[in-house]
Amino acid sequence: MARKPKSDRESEKAIRGVDLNEVERLLVFMQKHRLEQFEYERDGVHIMLKKASGHSVGDVRSARASEPVGNQLMEEPASVPLPAAELPVQFVEGKAVTDELHLVKSPIVGTYYAAASPDAEPFVRVKAQVEEGEVLCIIEAMKLMNEIEADVAGEVAKIFVENGHPVEYGQPLFAIRPDRKR
């Protein structure tokens, strides 16, 4: 939250915690193995890379065969990866492809506490089932303890903050996998 990256280049090469260098490497990987879709999750960020439907790399290549766009395109399709920028991709942040993850964000500035008191059990752990309205944590602001409630029922998929750490407005606290409606 509070600390900012020292170098501007570092901050340009990342979008919301997504390392673009890494994504480019993944795209090349997908190319190499002729993958249509690739998805993974790490550090609260979910990435899904998917080629535009109906096109394989080969199709895209043949559509451009008549255009002399560059030396690379003149070679055999299987051996030369397309520049990463030409592959249509989707960034899907914080959402699983199969189910939606609901983010609980801090409505106030303060200090995050996982439990009601230093020696008490935390309100929730990962994989806990919570009801709508259930207290997930406390955020202390100006000596007042504010209870933060779950706004959906479901399973706690991820906890983004550490006990005793400061949080700002809008900072993600929990990711909840909502229960499917009966």
Binding site: A2, K4, V109, G110, E168, Y169, G170, Q171
Partner: protein, 450 residues
């Protein structure tokens, strides 16, 4: 000196405060709304904390959020800038209670100056000339006649419980007085539920003259000269300058001494501005005091060489006035243009993305701005984009430099009032120093001027 200061503001003034902090070696904490996530002061500050969604009331005006941010960042002091919480006595008290220094006057003084009637009464008692008027509500026709005899014509009858021109009447002679008194009361009752009116001398063709002051925590106060801010539109200042072409050194000394005396008597500390209207006969009338740093402070900085924001910080940290400002010398003339993101003719706000932003420079030119190419001017806050200040040996040189600077200030992607400023400084009356607060209304429209 403070270790760390939280800047409870945004835009150009947040950057201004940030640069003063850097000069003093003080760490900075920026607080911002979601709309300002990419703004310059957020990027330049040592730490930054998001305090709410775009709306001011949910973010920059949200005292619990600001104080909470100050606590988790463990700051020593908060600089409130101008607007927002800068004249909120309650906020200043909450800061004190949280053991955070509020960089500004004490809560009591803020409160006093914020209640305009009370400020006028207190400053009147402390020796400042105030607008002659009724002591309070004018109860009946007999009292109306008495007050009129004292304050003379022309005078204004105003509703006590509201404004906006309702329940207001201008009276030029005794003949009109009683009927105006009666109709004002009726209108006031219909508009605000109370027929109560008060009376006040009408200052015709007024010039707005304000004095910059600085005070320390030990009761010492000085003034740093005046600014003339008569070029206004709907009571919003558009262009300001120092010195006023209408004051001679005698006037300056006279009113300056009265201002200092009055503020010493209330133990005023930090920066502030005492505002007057001056009528055609040269009489000054105190209207109000702004107990904070003002938008147009650079004008005084250019003429005196005193860094007002750095001074505020040093004074708040306990420095004595004589260490911070020795003696004040006035050199040359400075003029500031407030460049807003508005249509220069219709004044309709123009929010959006700036595509080109080329800022002028050269001798005697200063630009205070948080805008840049590719910046987005959000629709949630005031429309000030940049302040362009020109300083010269004298008023002519300042105006000449301003011409060049306005021509060289290129902003594309949004509309700005740069063309309006070009017309103002080209106007013969402006150049001759002959104007009052109605100047802008009388300025011919651009099409007519061609």
């Amino acid at each position: 000196m403070f270790r760390k200061i939280l800047i409870a503001n945004r835009g150009e003034i947040a950057l201004r405060i940030l640069s003063a902090c850097k000069e003093l070696g003080v760490k900075t904490v920026a607080v911002y709304s979601e709309a300002d996530r990419n703004s310059l002061h957020v990027r330049f500050a040592d730490e930054a904390i998001c305090i709410g969604p775009p709306r001011s009331s949910d973010s920059y005006l949200n005292i619990p959020q600001v104080i909470s941010a100050a606590e988790i960042a463990n700051v020593d002091a908060i600089h409130p800038g101008y607007g927002f919480l800068s004249e909120n006595a309650n906020f200043a008290e909450v800061c004190e209670a949280s053991h955070i220094t509020f960089i500004g006057p004490s809560p009591d003084v803020i409160r006093m100056m914020g209640e305009k009637d009370r400020a006028r009464a207190e400053m009147g008692r402390a020796g400042l000339p105030i607008i002659p008027g009724s002591p309070g509500v004018v109860a009946d026709e007999a009292m109306a006649k008495e007050v009129a005899a004292q304050i003379n014509f022309p005078l204004m009858i105003k509703a006590a419980e509201g404004g906006g021109g309702r329940g207001m009447r201008m009276v030029r002679s005794k003949r009109e007085l009683i009927r105006a008194f009666q109709t004002a009361r009726t209108e006031a009752e219909q508009a605000f539920g109370s027929p109560n009116v008060y009376m006040e001398k009408l200052i015709e063709h007024p010039r707005h003259i304000e004095f910059q002051v600085l005070g320390d925590r030990y009761g010492n106060v000085i003034h740093l000269g005046e600014r003339e801010c008569s070029i206004q539109r709907r009571h919003q200042k558009v262009l300001e300058e120092s010195p006023s072409s209408t004051l001679d050194p005698g006037d300056r000394r006279n009113i300056g001494e009265k201002v200092v005396e009055a503020l010493r008597s209330v133990r005023y500390s930090s920066a502030g501005t005492v505002e007057f209207l001056r009528d055609v006969t040269g009489e000054f009338y105190f209207i109000e005091m702004n107990a904070r740093i003002q938008v147009e402070h650079p004008v005084t900085e250019m003429v005196t060489g005193v860094d007002l924001v750095k001074s505020q910080i040093r004074l708040a940290a306990g420095a004595r006035l004589e260490e911070v400002v020795g003696s004040v010398e006035f050199r040359g003339h400075a003029i500031e243009c407030r460049i807003n993101a508005e249509d220069p003719e219709t004044f309709v706000p123009s929010a959006g993305r700036i595509t080109t932003f080329r800022v002028p420079g050269g001798p005697g030119i200063r630009v205070d701005t948080a805008a840049h190419a590719d910046a987005v001017i959000p629709p949630y806050y005031d429309s000030l984009v940049a302040k362009l200040i020109a300083h010269g040996r004298d008023r002519s040189e300042a105006i000449a430099r301003l011409h060049g600077a306005l021509d060289g200030f290129i902003v594309e992607g949004i509309k700005t009032t740069i063309p309006l400023h070009k017309r103002i400084i080209a106007d013969p009356d402006f150049v001759a120093g002959k104007f009052d607060t109605h100047f802008l209304e009388r300025l011919p429209a651009a099409a007519a001027a061609k």
